[in-house]
Symmetry: C2
Subunit: 424 residues, 2 copies
């Protein structure tokens, strides 16, 4: 590979220029080896924030992220693979019922997940509230579980896309996270390296989403679909609402409980709707002829869930942890619930102990928010709106403060459609 | 001082916000102590490149740069002080005749200078071609020389504006040099810390200048004048042409020779014009009633030059070094000199050994370019255009290549006015 002058490339991007594919590849490779210093890459990332990246350079940049580590290969599994990635939202436990449901449809789901940071929870944090369950698997264990169960949700090994790990840690401390090409290449670099044959993206927009504006979320979705398609992975995105939390719970064990309800054929309508919509996309993208609604109703998804949890040491029958302190928040006036703000609910759950402020912080398995009402419900004064859960009573007051702001009671209220658009 | 979240401040600036004076001060102070990491400051510098700084935050930022080190004080000198700063150009030896001329007018000139990097020479490099001359003085020596001679040109001590040294070194490797607020605060932070009572800025624009575009140079000049004025330093800027090199020489000893010609009452018209214009501004800004043209004609500026050089160990009567290899470039056709490109002349001198590519490189005292023609001159084929000087013959060919591109022979040619505007 040709070597370049780092400062010249930073200036090129700063001044609105486009990297050649070779330059983009060199930048990622040289940053991974340390030839490009952190202070140079952060300046470059900020320049990208302002001037963007064209499709071709972004594809090369993403490919270089993939090439920085190992790439998993499930081509000899004997079953098609499909994975889902959500950009993150409050109460977003969809992966939990989705992975076993899609597996029960005959599509293998190799789902590498992360932990939560800030107001949205992480899938691994949620599953770790199940007694005995462990997130770390070797590649061989992961492969074996895909063969035996058809679904695995585990921590991404350090061998996948190490360039992205280094770059993301840098962006996190330099105010350069919120760049569409950098977000898109970070997500897609990891997902493509993971070796899935098809990928369905759940790109969220609204107060509780990373992308508050629908226009930005749409651009991110389009960029990721182009990147995946260019890399030979069948990629579809759903643009979904995150003004309102998903389901009735935000918090680790609370969300596992809700996921199990869905697998048992119940659960909140919005969680069921999105689980089925994403499952249909995954099954279709994998080229398998199955109806996820039928499979869910048959109980086979629940069977797959139990096997998936047990395969990773968890006891699917064990009771989930319950918070030592609970407090009910009631309506102060009568009226209609016009808004349940996802951001405030996420903040309340985070303050109660469900989330972490720093990567090394622990989370409380039982902490979180349990909603008793939905947008559009009519309530009378004194009616329970939600229950706050925490193991540490000193967290209750600040959690309550956010939770109180979350709910608006007014004249009329309707929630916008959950699925706003489909991008393929 | 209040402490802030660095990432929040980077995002604030990235999104077009303005720092409070307290935030701006904290950023510089925290960067100086290392609390803010290089990769954070470089991302912030890139954000400033895109979103700028308002007057108030830039003034606080500059004041923090000044406050990061010592501040010289010449208030008990018994004479007013004035200094000049040039943004740098090819053949810009103006400081050499200017400092002794202004001193001879009765205004003390404390001129802290730097070495050259790239295609423009540094004042210290030029003076170091004088046998015996030394650039490094203690503050006490500097003060004593200002009392005895009235002019001193020396290296800036490490105690002045250390925040700027750290920040400039960072900007240099992160593609964030070309930001008007960052350039303005870097220059003005050092110059205000230096303790001068008045400051005249020579802001150059054109192919050989740091600021190629007149509009950018004008904005830089205006920004610096506002910063100086706000800090209580009488500040005036001249906007001057740098499409064409200043005078007939580019190179260290060659430029000293030309400066001595000017002090002796001769020298190229453009060097004399700019020297006198800047001297008048400095004398006027210092509130002294003297006519620099009369003082130059009287020989008192030459006397001051000799004393200034001798005070720093130099022998003003010693012959200047002469390059071991010289080569004359002649006209290949007849016509009028329509352009002598400052950038190409600077590049030629640099390639011949007059400048350095890295801070630690040595420079050749005798290397450089000597022009025999001016814009507008009529030449015949075979007439000498310029002479290339170097001690290392293997540098000759690449120097010649740039020098040949420098000169355009065509139909008609006029140089734009040397002094384009005055900003106060």
């Amino acid at each position: 590979m040709h070597a370049y002058d780092t400062v010249e490339l930073i200036r090129l991007k700063r001044d609105g220029g486009r990297f050649t594919a070779d330059q983009a590849r060199w930048l990622i490779a040289a940053y991974t080896t340390g030839e490009i210093a952190d202070e140079q890459m952060s300046a470059l990332a900020m320049a990208v924030f302002f001037t963007g990246m064209a499709d071709e350079e972004l594809a090369a940049w993403t490919q270089a992220i993939i090439d920085s580590g190992e790439r998993l290969d499930f081509s000899r599994l004997g079953r098609p693979t499909a994975d889902k990635h959500s950009t993150g939202g409050v109460g977003d436990k969809i992966t939990l019922p989705l992975a076993p449901l899609v597996a029960a449809c005959g599509v293998a789901v190799p789902q590498l997940s992360g932990r939560g940071l800030g107001h949205t929870g992480g899938t691994l944090d949620k599953l770790e509230s199940i007694p005995g369950w462990r997130a770390s698997l070797t590649n061989a264990e992961m492969y074996a579980q895909l063969e035996s169960v058809g679904a695995v949700i585990c921590a991404a090994g350090s061998g996948l896309a190490p360039a992205d790990k280094k770059l993301y840690a840098l962006r996190d401390v330099t105010g350069t996270v919120e760049s569409i090409p950098l977000i898109a290449s970070s997500i897609m670099g990891k997902k493509i390296a993971e070796g899935t044959g098809a990928l369905v993206l759940d790109v969220k927009t609204g107060s509780g989403a990373f992308m508050k504006e629908e226009e930005s979320a749409r651009r991110l979705a389009e960029t990721m679909v182009r990147l995946g398609t260019a890399a030979g992975v069948t990629t579809v995105a759903l643009l979904t609402d995150m003004d309102t939390p998903l389901g009735r719970t935000a918090g680790n064990a609370l969300e596992v409980g809700e996921a199990v309800e869905v697998l048992a054929g119940g659960g909140p309508a919005d969680v069921v709707e999105l689980t089925l919509a994403l499952a249909r996309e995954m099954v279709q993208a994998a080229g398998v002829d199955a109806d996820p609604a039928d499979v869910l109703a048959s109980g086979r998804a629940m069977d797959a869930w139990r096997r998936m949890i047990a395969a990773q040491g968890g006891d699917p029958a064990a009771p989930l942890p319950v918070a030592r302190h609970q407090q009910v928040l009631t309506a102060t006036s009568k009226g209609t619930i016009t808004r349940i703000d996802a951001w405030e609910v996420g903040l309340a759950a985070w303050r109660l102990g469900a989330g972490r402020a720093r990567k090394e912080d622990p989370v409380q398995a039982a902490a979180g928010v349990e909603l008793h009402v939905s947008v559009g419900d009519t309530v009378r004064a004194g009616q329970p709106l939600l229950t706050l859960h925490t193991d540490t009573p000193d967290r209750m007051a600040r959690g309550e403060e956010a939770a109180r702001r979350a709910i608006t009671i007014g004249g009329t209220g309707t929630r916008r459609p959950l699925i706003l658009d489909r991008i393929s």
